[in-house]
C-alpha cells in the first residue's frame, strides 16, 4: 500500500497540469463554439493537425515558437473552412468532423512517410522543445512554487485564455452577442447581430486553440510526432467543455480533472505492477462517468424547472379567482 500512496506528490499535480493543457485549450475552443451555437466535434482533427504542422514548421523554420504560430494558423484556417462549408453548403457538422478526422489521421502519416520516410513516428535532433519558464520569486515559495512555476509558455497562455474568454463572454458586448446567437440565432439576427460572422469567429478561434493544444503535445511536451498523436484528447475535450457548462472557469476545472486522471494513470503504472492496458482505462472510464453525470445534471435541472413552473401555476390558480 505504501507504493500506492507514494503516487500523490507535487510531481503528480505538476504533470496533471501539464497533461490538462492540451485538453484545456481544445475544450475552451469547444466551449466558445457551444456558446455560439455551433457544435464543434472536430477538435480531435484540429489538434492532430496542430501537432503535425507545429513540429514540421518548427523543423523547417528552425524555431519552435514559430512552429506554434504556424500550427495555430493552420488550425484557424481549418476552422474557417468548416465555417465556410457549414454556412455556404449547409454541410452537417458531425459528418464534417468525421471526414476531417479520417483525412487528417491518414494525411499526416502520408506526408510523414512521403517527406521523412518514417512510418510510426518522426523527430529530428535539430528541433527544440519549447523551454520551461521558471518564474523568479514564485518558484521559491514552498509547495506553491513548483505548482505554479516551471511550465512552458503554452501552459501560461492557456490560463490567460481562460481569463480573456471569461471577460469577453460575460463582461463585453461582443461576448453577449455571441451568447445571444447561441441562445437563439434567428432572434439575434433580427436585432442586427451578425450571427454568421460570430459563429465563423468562434470556429476559427477554436481551431487555433485546439491546434495549439496539439502543438503542445508534439513540441511542448515531447519532441516528436507519432501517428494519431492526439489519441482521443479532442473527444475528451468535448466532454470537458460540457462538464464545465461551457464556462471558462468550469472548463478549466473540468480539464484539470481529466489531466489529473491522465497523470494518475501514468504514475500508477510506475509504482504498481497492474497491467498498463487496464490502468490506461482510467481516463476513458472517467470521461464516460462524467458524461453520465452531465446527463443526470441536466435531467435534474429540467425536472426542477418543471416543478417550479407547476408550483407557480398552482400559486397563480390559487390567486386567480380574485381577478
Amino acid at each position: 500500500m505504501e507504493g500506492f500512496f507514494s503516487v500523490f506528490t507535487v510531481e503528480l499535480l505538476n504533470s496533471g497540469i501539464r497533461l490538462a493543457t492540451p485538453i484545456l485549450l481544445a475544450a475552451l475552443g469547444g466551449a466558445l463554439c457551444n456558446q455560439a451555437g455551433v457544435l464543434n466535434l472536430a477538435l480531435e482533427s484540429k489538434m492532430l493537425l496542430g501537432a503535425f504542422v507545429g513540429i514540421v514548421a518548427a523543423y523547417y523554420l528552425g524555431n519552435s515558437y514559430a512552429g506554434l504560430l504556424v500550427a495555430m494558423t493552420a488550425g484557424g484556417l481549418l476552422g474557417l473552412l468548416f465555417a465556410f462549408l457549414y454556412h455556404k453548403y449547409k454541410v452537417d457538422l458531425v459528418i464534417l468532423a468525421i471526414a476531417f478526422n479520417l483525412i487528417i489521421v491518414e494525411l499526416t502519416v502520408f506526408v510523414m512517410r512521403a517527406q521523412f520516410g518514417n512510418v510510426g513516428s518522426w523527430s529530428d535532433p535539430s528541433i527544440e522543445r519549447i523551454p520551461d519558464i521558471h518564474i523568479p520569486v514564485i518558484q521559491d515559495i514552498p509547495f506553491l512554487g513548483p505548482l505554479l512555476s516551471g511550465y512552458n509558455i503554452i501552459v501560461y497562455f492557456s490560463w490567460l485564455v481562460v481569463l480573456v474568454m471569461f471577460v469577453y463572454l460575460y463582461r463585453m458586448r461582443g461576448g453577449r452577442h455571441l451568447r445571444a446567437v447561441g441562445e437563439n440565432k434567428s432572434a439575434a439576427e433580427t436585432v442586427g447581430i451578425n450571427a454568421i460572422l460570430l459563429q465563423t469567429l468562434a470556429l476559427v478561434i477554436s481551431g487555433a486553440l485546439a491546434a495549439l493544444g496539439g502543438a503542445f503535445l508534439s513540441i511542448g511536451h515531447l519532441k516528436l510526432f507519432t501517428r494519431n498523436m492526439s489519441n482521443g484528447r479532442g473527444w475528451i475535450a468535448i466532454a470537458a467543455a460540457m462538464f464545465g457548462v461551457n464556462h471558462p472557469v468550469g472548463v478549466f476545472l473540468a480539464s484539470l480533472f481529466f489531466g489529473f486522471a491522465d497523470a494518475f494513470s501514468v504514475r500508477i503504472q510506475n509504482v504498481t505492477d497492474l497491467p498498463p492496458n487496464l490502468v490506461k482505462l482510467l481516463p476513458n472510464v472517467a470521461t464516460l462517468l462524467v458524461l453520465i453525470l452531465i446527463a443526470l445534471r441536466s435531467k435534474i435541472a429540467f425536472s426542477m424547472a418543471r416543478r417550479r413552473f407547476r408550483a407557480q401555476l398552482r400559486a397563480e390558480e390559487a390567486a386567480g379567482p380574485g381577478d
Binding site: Y89, L102, I103, L107, P275, K280, L281, L291, S298
Partner: protein
C-alpha cells in the same frame, strides 16, 4: 429515365458517384505532388484492387474477403443511424465480439457446425450487450451517444489488448496472440489459398436481412419512424425509446458478428492490433452508401478495393504511402457531406437541358 423509381435510384447514386470521382481527382493531385506517374498510378490502383491477374488468381477475391467485416459493421451503423442513434461504437462491439469468438474457439470443443454457431452466437450476444450500454444511457439519461460510444470504443480496445496480452495469450512470441481456434469452429473458404468464404455469404444474407427488417417489418418501420421524427412516432403510438434500444441491440449484434467472422474465417485467432479501424470504416461506408444496406454493400467493396490497391499496388510498386487510400476515403465522405455543392449544379444542369428541350422544369420535384 422517366420511371420515377429509376429516377429515385439515380438520384440516390448520383451524389456518391460524383463524390467518388472528386476523391479520385484529389488522389491525382496528391500523386502529382509526390512526382509519381499519374496514369500508371490509377492503373495500378485499380488492377490491384479490383482486377484479375489470370484466371483463378483474382485480387478481387481478396477485396471481397476484406469487404466482409466492413459490410457487417456498415450495416450495424445503418441500423443505428436509421433509428436516430448516432452511434459510432462499431469498433468496440466488433473487437469484443472478436474476443468472445476467439475465446469460445479454443476454450470449448464441440462438433463442427455446432461449434461455429456457438462462436457466432457468443459474439452476437457480446456485441449486442455492448451496444445496449450506450442505447440505455441515451434513452434513460440522455447521455450523448456519439461521445459515449467513442469512449466505449477506447475502453473496449484497451480491454481486448489486455485480454490478448495476458489471460488469452498463447505463447511468448513478440506479437501477443491467442491460441488458434479449433478447426470445428473455422469458416470454410471457397478457393484454396484464399480466405473468401462462408463469411461473405453471411454478410450478403445480413444485407438482405437488414433491408427486409427495416423496410418490410413493423418493428423496422417503427425504428425508422423513431429515427426520422420522434414526435411523429409518438403520435403514431410508437415507443421510440424501445425502438432506439432495439436498434442499438441489433447494431451491436451485427458488429459483434463481424468480429466473429473475422476471427473464424480470416485470422483464426485474435492478436494485438486486431482492429485496423474497421469499425470506423464501416461507419464511413454507411454514410457514403446513403445509409442503405445495398449502398453499404457496394461501398464496402469499393473501399476495400481502394485500400487494397493502395497497399498492395501503390505502396509496393510505386512507393506511394498506403495512407493514400484512407485519405481518399476521407475526402470522399467530405464530398458526400458537401452534396449540396453537386445538387445545385445538378439542378442547374437539369434545368438547362429541360429548357433546351422546350419543356421547362418538368419533373423537377422529388
Amino acid at each position: 429515365m422517366n420511371d420515377p423509381r429509376v429516377r429515385k435510384v439515380l438520384d440516390a447514386i448520383l451524389v456518391p458517384l460524383l463524390a467518388v470521382l472528386s476523391g479520385l481527382v484529389v488522389m491525382g493531385i496528391l500523386i502529382l505532388f509526390l512526382k509519381k506517374p499519374l496514369f500508371e498510378s490509377y492503373a495500378i490502383l485499380f488492377s490491384n484492387g479490383f482486377g484479375c491477374k489470370e484466371y483463378g488468381n483474382c485480387i478481387f477475391i481478396t477485396t471481397l474477403e476484406r469487404a466482409t467485416p466492413l459490410i457487417l459493421t456498415g450495416l450495424s451503423a445503418v441500423v443505428a443511424f436509421r433509428s436516430g442513434m448516432f452511434s459510432i461504437g462499431q469498433e468496440g462491439q466488433y473487437l469484443l465480439g472478436a474476443a468472445a469468438a476467439a475465446w469460445l474457439g479454443y476454450a470449448i470443443h464441440l462438433p463442427p457446425v455446432l461449434h461455429a454457431l456457438v462462436l457466432m452466437t457468443g459474439a452476437i450476444l457480446v456485441g449486442a450487450a455492448y451496444g445496449w450500454i450506450p442505447g440505455v444511457l441515451r434513452v434513460k439519461l440522455g447521455v450523448n451517444e456519439l461521445l459515449a460510444t467513442i469512449m466505449l470504443n477506447s475502453i473496449a480496445a484497451l480491454i481486448v489488448e489486455y485480454l490478448v496480452q495476458f489471460p488469452m495469450r498463447a505463447d511468448t512470441s513478440a506479437v501477443a496472440h491467442s491460441p488458434v481456434i479449433d478447426t470445428s469452429a473455422q469458416l470454410m473458404s471457397f478457393l484454396p489459398g484464399s480466405k473468401w468464404g462462408v463469411g461473405f455469404v453471411i454478410a450478403v444474407l445480413a444485407v438482405i436481412g437488414v433491408y427486409l427488417y427495416l423496410w418490410r417489418t413493423k418493428s423496422g418501420y417503427e425504428q425508422r419512424m423513431a429515427g426520422q421524427s420522434k414526435r411523429f412516432a409518438l403520435f403514431g403510438g410508437i415507443h421510440s425509446d424501445q425502438a432506439a434500444i432495439r436498434a442499438m441491440l441489433i447494431s451491436g449484434a451485427l458488429a459483434g458478428l463481424a468480429g466473429a467472422i473475422e476471427v473464424m474465417g480470416v485470422h483464426r485467432r485474435i492478436m494485438t492490433g486486431f482492429s485496423v479501424g474497421l469499425g470506423f470504416d464501416g461507419l464511413t461506408s454507411a454514410i457514403l452508401g446513403q445509409v442503405h444496406p445495398f449502398g453499404v454493400f457496394i461501398v464496402a467493396i469499393l473501399f476495400s478495393g481502394l485500400k487494397l490497391g493502395a497497399q498492395l499496388g501503390l505502396q509496393l510498386n510505386l512507393d506511394i504511402p498506403r495512407e493514400l487510400g484512407g485519405t481518399i476515403i476521407g475526402f470522399i465522405i467530405l464530398f458526400v457531406a458537401a452534396g449540396k455543392l453537386y445538387e445545385e449544379n445538378i439542378a442547374r444542369a437539369r434545368e438547362w437541358s429541360a429548357r433546351k428541350r422546350g419543356n421547362p422544369m418538368k419533373g423537377e420535384s422529388h
